[in-house]
């Protein structure tokens, strides 16, 4: 039986219109780009920038936990960079364990005699808390999901978002984010630091498109997973599930400074024995080429 030799393993390309990044010493895509193309040093222990949660109304800002603030900061970065009406995109929020602080607090409280947990902490414990706060803040009623796949969460989020763009033909906001567990769960499930990234993906190229991404599932034997030459960045990649997407950010950072319209293939880990490959084509002169074409 010859079942999968001619089966489809590639998706129609999607367009990347806005990028957000947050991590130690990194408040946005321009700072991430400087680190990734080698013009600034990366330090895993650098201070975290303050979260920019200007998009959250006051009440929600007071109620939101750390992972929600991280996700909202990232969501706002990508949406604003893409200059899209924030009520328009669907959204995929991807995180391996969501709000690790809230989960730890709840498990600790439930091991005490009175077992009292606060209602707010309980509703903040759902994995779609970030998407709830974000859509309330933006009055966005589009479909929104929250997904996880442990160390493969970044690839799973990329796949889910790209599939939505291709099959639903609508813009999709993708936010990939993780925060570490506090003790004692940090020993069982180490997450090295706070890190996240966000993309605004579209089915068609716009004047704000910075790259075209073509996703495929490929045999791992044919395409080894990309690593990063800088030891500190490589420690980030292997230490935080969300940072497994760093090779993709690195390709985007270099392409922006390099040759136009060159295609670079990025390989991220996925369910063994396959990997997720992304053919990244920079659209650096997006506005000019649109103008020339018209």
């Amino acid at each position: 039986m010859n079942h999968s030799t001619d089966a489809m393993t590639s998706l129609k390309p999607v367009y990347l219109d806005g990028i957000g990044v947050f991590g130690p010493g990194i408040a946005d895509w321009s700072q991430a780009r400087a680190v990734l193309n080698g013009s600034a040093a990366f330090d895993l222990d650098a201070d975290l920038p303050p979260f920019n949660v200007a998009d959250l109304p006051g009440t929600e800002r007071r109620r939101a936990g750390k992972s929600v603030k991280l996700a909202v900061d990232l969501a706002a970065q990508a949406v604003h960079a893409a200059r899209i009406d924030p009520t328009q995109p669907a959204a995929v929020f991807a995180s391996t364990s969501g709000d690790t602080n809230v989960l730890t607090d709840i498990c600790a409280a439930l091991a005490t005699d009175d077992r009292l947990i606060s209602p707010m902490r309980f509703h903040n414990s759902v994995h779609n808390a970030a998407s709830g706060y974000w859509t309330i803040a933006q009055s966005n009623r589009q479909p929104t999901t929250a997904v996880a796949l442990h160390n493969l969460t970044a690839s799973a989020g990329l796949l889910e978002a790209a599939i939505q763009v291709v099959t639903e033909q609508m813009p999709v906001l993708l936010v990939i984010y993780d925060i570490p567990f506090p003790p004692p769960l940090d020993a069982a499930e180490p997450i090295a630091t706070v890190f996240g990234l966000s993309f605004l993906l579209r089915p068609e190229r716009t004047e704000h498109s910075v790259a075209q991404l073509a996703l495929s599932l490929t045999a791992a034997s044919a395409s080894p997973v990309d690593t990063l030459p800088d030891p500190a960045l490589e420690a980030l990649r292997t230490g935080v599930a969300a940072a497994r997407a760093l090779p993709l950010l690195a390709a985007l950072a270099i392409e922006r400074n390099g040759a136009m319209d060159a295609t670079h293939t990025v390989t991220l880990d996925y369910v063994a024995p396959r990997v997720l490959t992304l053919d990244v084509t920079a659209l650096t002169d997006a506005v000019d080429s649109m103008r020339n074409a018209s």
Binding site: H3, I117, H127, S131, I136, T145, L149, H150, P184
Partner: protein
Amino acid sequence: MSESRLPITPPSGTKSPAMSPLAISHFTLSNALGFGKAATLAALQERRSGLMPCDFLDIALDTYIGRVANLENLPVVDRLSPFDCRNNRLTQAALRQDGFEQAVEAAKARYGADRVAVIAGTSTSGILHTELAFRERDPANGALPSPLHYRETHELSSAPEFVRQYFELTGPVLSISTACSSSAKVFASGWRLLQSGLCDAVIVGGVDSLCLTTLYGFSSLELVANEPCRPADTHRGGISIGEAAGFALLERRPQAPEAALGLLGYGESVDAHHMSTPHPEGLGAELAMQRALDRAGLAACDIDYINLHGTASRTNDSAEDKAVSRLFGRDVPCSSTKGWTGHTLGAAGITEAIIGLLCIEHGLIPGSLHTRQVDPGFTSHIVLDNETRPVRRVLSNSFGFGGNNASLIVGRLDT
């Protein structure tokens, strides 16, 4: 079947495009009513509830729960022992009913291990395992027992990864966790994944098991009833929490065309209103149902039965009634089946979609169990007694915290 597939048309305005239906070629469910389809069907027909006074662990809450019997004695297979926890025991027990394992093996042989995907929904995964570990902390340094097997038991992809390894599959895997809409949304993601061409069959599922977090959490919100839940009742006093697992095999074409059932439509939305309270007028709920109808290319009058989210919380039932009434008037019979199973949270979506399929197969409209007097403010057609009549298409609602809504339409495929 392929000849009757509808073309994918681009969206115009906010209207969802009509979609090609998918075959639901096999399905199974396990919950407080028992293991497998026959147990749930018999309880529905006999109007026998699975809810009992809370006797779970040492939890002293004045409430009723829908507990699955005997999970304590059903460990997971030895080769997957790091996954052993209540949530995966329930997952494994459910997979072993109704010939579901054989259906997956046949799909794997038909398409290849890399062409069968797994998408499962859950709200709390195996958090009970971690909750109990916190009772065993080292008094000196606070450390948890080791190894905890957090990844295998509690991380949100624990169940879909267990399913993948149980069947030795290598296709795409995903966990969806959007509270109580989680395992309705697996059907939407499953449809898209098949549409993308990246696989040829999808095992969609949902599993949530009893734990302290949800029992004490919903109690903290004063959303838990001290009697078996009474959906849509004037005197409804909140939810009864249950546990459940359900699985379905989605394919592009039915394997048995003469009795083919399928996913006709799905609709997803969010309320953009409040984290734990639905929009009072049910705006997000209405949007999800409308999108499901649009995708299925159906009108309200084409629906024979609506399985409500119907948690028996004051606010959910009222908001859902308004949304259903605006779209369906008083014409379409509606009920909640949570009086039988309890609210199975992240497993509710697939549990109730499968109940919808059973209603179609057996021509049954279950009247809302424990509902004595319908809230006089309600205007939808709430059914209180079981009815036997042909049912071709069922709409099933699932709404969750974060205002996350999903509606599914299942029905007979035209072949």
